[in-house]
Each structure stands twice: as C-alpha cells, then as structure tokens.
Amino acid sequence: MNTLSPGFHGHTRPRSDRLPPGQYPTEQFPVLSAGPTPEVPTSTWEFTLTGTEGERLRTWDWAGFGDLPQEEPTVDIHCVTRWTKWDTSWRGVSVDVLLEGVDTSASHVMAESYGGYTTNLPLADLTGGRAWIVHTFDGLPLPPEHGGPARLLVPHLYFWKSAKWVSGLRLLDRDEPGFWESVGYHMYGDPWREQRNRSD
C-alpha cells in the first residue's frame, strides 16, 4: 500500500500551463495582510514618486490620477499562500505612464503604502506594460481589504509584491528588503520559480 496520503484523490486536475508549481486555482478572493486594513479616503489620497535622494519627483491626487490614461488589464494572480486566481480584471494606470520622462539610474523601487507596508521590486519589473496602479476590480471600486482605494498590480510576481493601499514608489540605487522580505520572504518572488522564502 502507498503510505503517502493513501486514498487521496483530489479534485479536478487544473490546467497546468497557467498554474505555477505548488499553486491551486480558486474562485474566491482570499486576503493576506499583516495587520488591520487602513482607512484611506480618496479625498486625502496622494500618490508620490520619490527619487533616490528622497526628493519628491511627482505627486498626484485622486482626481489627477483619474485624469491619467487608464488601462484595463485582465491577468492571472498568484498568492504565496498558494492560491491562483485566473482572469482577474482591473482598471488603473500603467506604471510606465507614471515614470514617463523620469531620468534615473535607479535599479530598484520600494513600493510604499498607507499603514506602513513596503515591498521591494527591480525597477525593470515595473516597466514595459507589466505593472499598474489599479483602483477598480471587476468593474467596482477596489474594496479596502483588497487594497483600496488603490494598489499596485504586478501579476508576474507573487501577489505580496502588489502592495495594497499604495501611497507611492521610491526609487532605489540598490535592492533593500520590504516588509515581508525582511521577515523571510524572497527578495524577488517569481511564482514560476517558486521563490517563496529567502532560501528558495
């Protein structure tokens, strides 16, 4: 007799080409957060792009952000807690638009959030039409527990990189760990290479 989980059959085998290793598909939208959900009214919301010396490069308020060209990405998202959600649809501004014309030698970016959350990413992963600041999910305003009023969306990395309640991007000359990265999560977080923990 097979003594490794004998009698376990599992549910339907998911389409494997769209499922990173160790993930399972879900119809739900589970929540992963380190603490309480901050209340961020759009009346005081601001999004700031900060340079490597701490200088404010650009700032948008809610109305100004809404005036930027909007895109509607439909993407698969992969959470490090092992769920994958296919074909999620969002509306927001491409990070390319926010960075347009910014001349920088920065290699990395710290995404910063209301409530103090941070996460680090290579600058290159935020450009080339691969990252957005989104405010709408499935045609409705993004709920607070999912990061509303606005969150970062970087679907090709584990979803903790898609900072909720995002308040800005700070350019960095070198990589630095953000919140989860400093308690053991991987610095880059590629779901296709299963980069969950620092040692993976």
Binding site: F8, Y24, P30
Partner: protein, 238 residues
C-alpha cells in the same frame, strides 16, 4: 531549510468537537518552530497529482512532534481528507516552519492580547502554551470567539477565567451561549474590547486570527479602541 519537504507520520488523531480534529504527526529531524508559525501540508494522489494547503502549528515545538488543528471545510479538497480519512501511520509531507511575522517570541515582556475566531484559535493556543511553559510573565488575555459550545476547541485547556500563570481567557459566543454565560450570544463588539488599549504596560501586542471576515472586523475594532495599527498582527485563514 524552508524549501525542504519532510515526511510526517500521523501518530494520533483527537476529536476537538463534532467536526474539528487535532492531528499529531511525527517528523524526523524537524528543525523546530515558533508559536504562531504554520506549515504547508502536501497530499499526493496515485497519479502524482498534489494539493497543498497551510495549517497552523497548534503547539510549541517539542522534539519531532507536530500538532495541527483541522476544521474540515465542506467540499474542500484537503481539509476533509486530513480530518476524516488520512489513516494512522500514513504519511503526508510538510514544509516549514513558515511565517515570520505572526509569531510570539517568549522573551518579550509586553502585554499580549490574543483574539481568535473559530479555527483561528489554533495558532493562539500554541502561544498560550508557550506562555504557560515559559518564564515570561507578560500579561496574556485570550478572547476566543466561537459560534456555540458545540464548536469549542481545547475545552480542557482554555477555560474561562484567570489561571495561575496569569493567562486570562474569555469565551465570546456569537450564536448560542451556555446557560451560565452572562454575556448574551452575539457578534464581537467594541464593548467586548473595552479597555483593550489601556492595559497595564501600554497597548498590548495583538494577534488576531480566523476567517477573513472575522479578522477584518476584529482588527478594525481594536484600532477603533485605540490600539495603534502597528501593534495588531493578523493571520487570515481564507
């Protein structure tokens, strides 16, 4: 270390209530863990298909023994199998320990508030155990929200009142309370947390765990009660 899968042998299964089960596993060369951490459990079907879910560690590290608490979810792929089907002496695979934030480190002396909903009691029970067996004298208050007496976990161990070690426990029933319970059954409210922010020694370090709806609600109440958001750590099960 984390990337490694260990074989875990089911040594015993205990009923916590009509549906919830405690599972005791033996894992050779288990590296140990901190109260609050979890493992990933991997099941393998005959055709090689695998399913993985996270389960909190219900007790502090003790040699090669791991204790999990599983609440079977109807129609779930993994939890009913673990709770009801996995035979004694059979194996699953586990990976961990995981989680570096939702942990209680015994050397801390500050007051602690544990707030668990339903099966969210599991990692909090590991913290209570660790506190009871440590020299730490930090005040511990456990608020355990549950639907009814029939859904209670760890009834012998987590009794209402204050114990000799300075751990205080309150049970908060939402649908049906036992006859002797003065608090009427009902959802967790601000009144249940009155004074939470003003315990001796300053706002406690809070650990909130359970289903997402419960955690959102409870963490929000704590912040409204004046606990700084940075003092509230959450773990969501769904």
């Amino acid at each position: 270390m984390h990337g490694h899968w260990y074989f875990a042998r089911l040594a015993a299964r205990r009923e916590e209530n009509a549906t919830a089960r405690t599972l005791l596993f033996d894992v050779e060369k288990w590296p140990g863990h901190l109260p609050g951490q979890h493992v990933d459990v991997r099941l393998t079907a005959d055709d090689g298909y695998q399913a993985i879910r996270s389960y909190s560690l219900a007790a502090p590290a003790e040699g090669d023994r791991l204790e999990l608490g599983v609440q079977p979810v109807e129609g779930g792929e993994v939890s009913p199998y673990l709770a009801e089907q996995l035979p004694l002496d059979a194996y699953v695979e586990v990976r961990g320990p995981l989680g570096g934030w939702f942990v209680w480190r015994g050397e801390r002396t500050e007051p602690v508030l544990l707030l668990g909903g339903g099966s969210g009691i599991v990692p909090l029970r590991a913290m209570v155990r660790a506190r009871r067996s440590s020299a730490a004298r930090s005040p511990f208050l456990l608020l355990y929200a549950l639907r009814s007496p029939a859904e209670r976990w760890y009834a012998e161990e987590l009794r209402p009142g204050a114990d000799a070690d300075g751990v205080r426990t309150r049970l908060l029933y939402s649908r049906e309370a036992p006859a002797e319970e003065p608090r009427p059954a009902g959802r967790l409210t601000a009144a249940d947390l009155a004074g939470a922010a003003e315990v001796e020694g300053g706002p406690p370090l809070c650990y909130v765990c359970g289903p997402t709806g419960f955690v959102e609600h409870a963490a929000g109440l704590l912040v409204a009660a004046g606990v700084p958001p940075g003092r509230v750590r959450t773990e969501r099960f769904g």
